[in-house]
């Protein structure tokens, strides 16, 4: 009996401690502490995903903090949801009609629903007022342009890059591939030599498919396909056949379907695989000690009709909520904050500090930049054709959920390339991209 009482006292004292700490619970953020004295400060609730181990955290988090410190009249309450968990977080907050005032997110592929329902406001007026368009690259607003309006400011660019391990190519006397046929040769030779040809996961394989497809298309074609104006045809079929063939040849590691991108990069680091095709966020994670062995090359051409193409564009944006927009004070504060995050200083740091691409036209010190990023950027400049990636920018929101498993089925040889094209057409038919409508 005594023991039980002791336990109860123990538990009860913990609850008391808890109640005390609970009072500060929500706002336990040192950064906002000082501004709390200022009664007139505009309160902004911010939700972003670049925290913890995220590669962009070292730039984004200090940027928010700096803004908070430099603006005594604005009080930031910062909430974070690392990486993809921001998807659930934002959806829940939106559904509860409790949207954060300012938040980071992907483009229309994940905000279409909010834009359609009017919970994210059109900010094209603000952009025009400040004449902001000039400072961004062409097409940077593509993924946040919806029926003529613009809904967010871009702050992170992306591209897919093809990197090889030069040393391994030389050691095994394999020709660096420039065409699909040569790529196939390289795959076979490396396979025979006991290597995994590609340090890839299912994302890489999908990116390859998209790239071969895009090599035969221009921007207008891509739009026409994504809006279901034109059905997919031979170009997608051929691209699907290539990806399918590579999978069958064993070009990808065992278990690649499930492999985290960082894990696939480890294969490349461990020199178990000579080739790597990935999203540009991985550049910062490449081991600098091994850089001398690496080379960034253009993605091999599908066939004689293909044009050298790089898939690149804008991936991340900062938005404000409708409620913030409708309150003049908040709108002003939120707009200032958005301009800070999507501003030139952060853009420069993205390139110099964390080897990420920026959608801003900024000057940066080439010597400070990660050499792989330098090569990737040069490679983009050399490409005849720079197009947005379908899955990053052009597919309607509802496509992603079906298009990923469908492509996985293709790679697992569960469906034929022909069925793949048919089913893609069916998916697009059902969920056409409507952002270009007036």
């Amino acid at each position: 009996m005594l023991k039980k009482n002791k336990m109860l006292v123990f538990l009860a004292s913990i609850i008391v401690a808890l109640l005390f700490s609970g009072c500060q619970g929500g706002t336990a953020d040192e950064a906002s502490g000082e501004a709390e004295n200022n009664e007139d400060a505009v309160q902004l609730r911010v939700l972003h995903s670049f925290t913890g181990a995220q590669p962009q955290a070292p730039v984004i988090e200090p940027a928010f903090k700096e803004f908070d410190n430099n603006h005594k009249d604005i009080d930031l309450k910062i909430e974070t949801a690392a990486g993809n968990t921001i998807l659930e977080q934002l959806k829940t907050e939106m559904a509860a009609d409790d949207a954060p005032d300012v938040f980071t997110h992907w483009g229309m592929r994940r905000t279409e629903n909010y834009i359609k329902n009017g919970v994210i406001p059109d900010i094209s007026g603000l952009i025009e007022e400040d004449n902001l368009k000039e400072q961004y690259r062409e097409g940077a607003f593509g993924p946040v342009t919806y029926k003529g309006g613009i809904y967010g400011l871009p702050f992170q660019g992306y591209s897919y890059y093809f990197m090889i391990n030069k040393k391994l190519f030389e050691e095994h006397n394999v020709k660096v591939p420039t065409t699909y046929e040569e790529l196939k040769d390289a795959v076979v030779k490396f396979k025979e030599a006991g290597y995994i040809p590609f340090a890839a996961n299912n994302h890489s394989a999908r990116y390859m498919l998209l790239t071969w497809f895009a090599q035969k298309k221009n921007y207008e074609d891509l739009v026409a396909h994504s809006t279901a104006e034109k059905p997919f045809g031979d170009a997608l079929l051929e691209a699907a056949q290539k990806a399918d063939e590579l999978a069958e040849l064993g070009a990808f590691p065992e278990g690649y379907m499930n492999m985290a991108t960082a894990q696939s990069l480890e294969l490349f680091h461990a020199e178990q695989a000579p080739m790597f095709y990935q999203h540009s966020w991985t550049i910062g994670s490449i081991d600098p000690e091994l850089l001398k062995n690496y080379q960034v090359i253009p993605f091999p051409l599908g066939d004689s009709e293909s044009v050298p193409t790089t898939l690149a564009g804008t991936g991340h944006f900062i938005y404000m909520s409708k409620d913030a927009y409708e309150d003049p004070e908040k709108r002003e504060a939120a707009w200032k904050l958005m301009n800070k995050i999507a501003g030139k200083e952060v853009g420069r740091q993205f390139v110099e500090k964390i080897a990420n691409q920026t959608p801003l036209k900024v000057e940066y010190d080439v010597d400070k930049v990660n050499p792989v990023l330098n090569e990737v950027l040069k490679n983009i400049d050399r490409s005849e054709n720079v197009l947005p990636s379908y899955e990053e920018e052009l597919f309607a929101s509802a496509v992603e959920g079906e298009y990923w498993p469908l492509t996985d089925s293709l790679l697992l040889q569960k469906i034929e390339p022909k069925e793949y094209v048919e089913q893609m057409n069916a998916i697009i038919e059902e969920n056409p991209n409507v952002q270009f409508e007036k």
């Binding site: 629903n113 359609k116 590691p253 690649y256 499930n258 480890e266 509802a398």
Partner: protein
């Protein structure tokens, strides 16, 4: 005897009932309500009445997810509880170092599912994972595979952490049940000269029937509801190969913004679990 007013009892029950109704029952009713609508989370709700349920009946992915979930239930009944029982039984016999063993067996139970998933993702990893490394080490190269994507192994591979995680719990519950088996019964058994299997089958199991019911009800409800292992290890993929009803419902709600449909899955699963639990109760109770 002091006659007390019955209404005093209400004071005991009322706080809990209010709390429970407000924080649990009303969310459940909300789930039930939304399951009749097409709703994306922010826009207008469109009333479909049984539309979501009709669609569910024709959804092949739901059926495969349900089959996978039933596979988990089978693992609970055929592996988790029996292994838990044997461990409890041996510990009850006070084998050497039983206290130490008891503590070690319990480690998985107190490890969070996120941590267990992390550990297992490293075990199964096709290139560097220790399972494949180990097989290569002992010369069984031909058995190495990509455990989480190979269609033959994927479902079992995601199930193991779940099964393993709760064996220790079953052990502790069953162990406490074993402690309550009256010594007289065992003594009587000894005098009759029963062997171990007979002792278990005819004396022990019947006398811990109530504890077994608890294990079954908890185990089955865990099996039907648990999904974080799948979410963290494979996210149901590749191509719904490891989809369980829990992940499917979660993804329909959050990834595809089809909350109405997700809720219809939830309500359907609720009824399936109720039926299952009732059957278990009937089967185990009827022997009395």
């Amino acid at each position: 005897m002091i006659q007390q007013k019955r209404w005093i009892l209400a004071l005991f029950a009322l706080p809990t009932l209010l709390f429970y109704t407000y924080f649990f029952i009303s969310p459940v009713l909300n789930t039930f309500y939304i399951s009749f609508f097409k709703w994306d989370g922010i826009g207008e709700k469109v009333f479909l009445f049984l539309g979501n349920y009709m669609e569910l009946l024709k959804d092949p992915i739901f059926y495969s997810a349900l089959a996978h979930t039933l596979y988990w239930v089978a693992l609970v009944i055929l592996v988790q509880i029996p292994v838990g029982f044997l461990l409890a039984y041996f510990i009850y016999q006070k084998v050497k170092a039983y206290k130490f063993l008891r503590t070690v067996y319990f480690i998985p139970v107190i490890t969070s599912s996120v941590a267990v998933s992390l550990a297992f993702s490293f075990i199964y990893e096709a290139q560097f994972g220790i399972l494949n490394s180990f097989l290569k080490l002992i010369g069984l190269d031909q058995f190495t595979t990509a455990w989480l994507t190979d269609p033959n192994t994927a479902m079992t591979a995601v199930s193991l952490p779940f099964v393993w995680n709760y064996i220790g719990l079953m052990m502790v519950i069953l162990f406490s049940g074993l402690q309550s088996v009256p010594d007289e019964l065992l003594e009587a058994g000894k005098m009759d000269g029963v062997n171990s299997w007979q002792k278990i089958a005819y004396i022990i199991l019947p006398s811990i029937r109530n504890v077994l019911v608890i294990c079954f009800v908890l185990g089955i409800s865990y099996a039907f509801k648990q999904f974080d292992y799948v979410l963290l290890l494979t996210n149901g993929g590749p191509v719904h190969q490891t989809e369980v009803t829990g992940t499917y419902m979660y993804k329909q709600g959050f990834d595809e913004s089809r909350y109405g449909y997700g809720n219809a899955i939830a309500i359907t699963m609720m009824f399936i679990v109720i039926v299952f639990t009732a059957i278990v109760n009937k089967v185990l109770q009827s022997k009395e």
